[in-house]
Amino acid sequence: MSTARRPSGRSRQWTSDRLLVWTLRGCGVLTGAVVALIAVFLVVESFGALSGVGLLRFFSDPSWHPSAGAAEGTFNLVPMLLGTLLTAAGAVLVATPLGLFSALFCRVYAPTAVARPYRRLIELLAGIPSVVYGFWGLVVLVPLIARFRPPGASLLAGVLILALMILPTIALAADAALSGVPRRYLRGAAALGLGRWATLSGVALPAARSGIATGVILAAGRALGETMAVLMVCGNVVEMPASVFDPVRTLTANIALEMAYAVGDHRSALFVSGLFLLVLVSGLVLAAESIERRKVVG
């Protein structure tokens, strides 16, 4: 940061400048407060269920039938929590190698004439709306899976669509991380007479490790929070899946499905699941940031 950015003593005389600075600070406070406001509203709206039902019953109740209210209703969120974790974990498992290979393709293996359009394609893939992915999954992928193993709308469909959606995040992060590997590392590897894969696996990928990890964590956050695509292809049955061909319902899909008619403790319980999601995803974002900060530049 250079000294030129700091307010000089002379410029403070101008009232218009002081007004400008305070207006800008006001903007900063407002935008910074949005996250806090979201957290406060989720906590306040969750309060009814958290005090009336109690946190424990979200894990120990026999089933999810929340509309009868705190006394008679049951509030087991575990199948939905599991649905969210399974779809996200599966998507990360599928997308990480594909994303990593895509980045290697762009930066190392493809000739320039192919690498440039491929990178553009990855960027376009990142820009396709989730509802379009969901719709395509619903009309193409689900019937395809149903041909082998009905009903088709399943954990597998969710994993595949989500993997496609988070692949660009991983690929672009890995690409940026690889481009940041110092040239002298590569020259050193070349001087040692290492082959291409030996250079990649022994030198370039370890050096790009933290950037790639950050990308994977952010992609996992995106997969956990995704709503429309999983809502449209996962079948939304509240049960523990026995195989990848069974339908699941995620926390996000549950909110989208039931928010329209939920009242009282039911509505409040949906805000509790929203709060779970917020805590989960914020934890991932902060973890990604701490990796980024710890990164030692070689």
Partner: protein, 290 residues
């Protein structure tokens, strides 16, 4: 971007190198094929449907027939509300972060950290928040205003990051030169820094626009489902993305029009992205020449 001077020198040796190369090419081929598959499906089933009538007519028979006129208008209104709120707020914050706070400033760090978290908040959580704050607490109900305001919260991080980068890319000589001429900070900002930062600002607006127009989950419980032509921002209005969801999931026989609507949405996104990158390149080029 591709490092061939560097990577070209690493020789492919032995079986492992050939195997890895084959796997990498295969992965890239699979990704490309799936992308083309989706695009081809959208074109094949949607393109025949699109006409001037489709773009302007009202939906009929719950969307199976008719067009998407009112839905385009509602989408435009929601985006207008979103950008009208997010642009000044985001620009102000970007200027604050880029020009008035240093890297070690605690307030700046706090704002940055909270924006990073905000960027990761799932869209359905924005929907819950928007419903609780705008629809219920502020009494705006299911309306274009509620939807637009919810989206404004959502696009702030993208907008601010690009605008901040644009401002940071402006050389320090501009600030020093302005200060040497005795200009006030406001004048330096308005006449020197912001014009020079225009490419970054445009990229930010386009990315924010793209995120907003693609959004569905945050709008279901804020701007609502009503597919009539909106009379004012207090009416409920159905966005393009929600129309696709509704036709695909709730309306048997709605697939054809859902394909056509999805094609319109993707086309808008591709056009704005391409226009922005072309415009960004040109402005950057002009900036470099001068």
């Amino acid at each position: 971007m591709v490092d061939h001077e560097m990577w070209g020198s690493t020789p492919a040796r032995g079986r492992t190198d050939r195997l890895v190369a084959a796997v990498v090419w295969l992965a890239a081929t699979v990704v490309t094929a799936v992308f083309l598959w989706i695009l081809a499906d959208l074109l094949r089933h949607g393109a025949g449907q699109i006409s001037w009538t489709f773009l302007t007519a009202a939906p009929a028979s719950a969307g199976r027939a008719g067009g998407i006129g009112p839905i385009l208008v509602s989408t435009a209104w929601i985006l207008a509300v979103c950008l009208a709120v997010a642009l000044p707020l985001g620009l102000g914050t970007a200027v604050l972060l880029a020009e008035l706070t240093s890297a070690e400033d605690a307030f700046g760090r706090l704002v940055r950290r909270s924006l990073d978290v905000l960027a990761g908040v799932p869209s359905i959580v924005f929907g819950l928040f928007g419903n609780a704050l705008f629809c219920v607490y502020l009494g705006l109900g299911f309306s274009i205003l509620s939807g637009g305001l919810t989206l404004a919260c959502m696009v702030l991080p993208i907008l601010i990051r690009s605008a901040e980068e644009g401002l940071r890319a402006v050389p320090d000589e501009y600030r020093l030169g302005g200060a040497a001429l005795g200009l006030s900070r406001g004048k330096i900002l308005l006449h020197l820094l912001l014009p020079a930062a225009v490419p970054g600002l445009i990229v930010g607006v386009v990315l924010g626009f793209g995120r907003a127009i693609a959004e569905t989950a945050a709008l279901i419980f804020t701007s609502g489902y009503v597919d009539r032509m909106p009379g004012s921002v207090h009416d409920s209005g159905r966005a393009l993305s929600i129309h696709i969801y509704d036709l695909g999931v709730n309306i048997p026989g709605g697939e054809t029009n859902a394909y056509a609507t999805a094609l319109v949405l993707v086309a808008i996104l591709l056009l704005t992205n391409t226009a922005a990158s072309l415009l960004g390149d040109r402005l950057r080029g002009r900036h470099a020449e001068s």
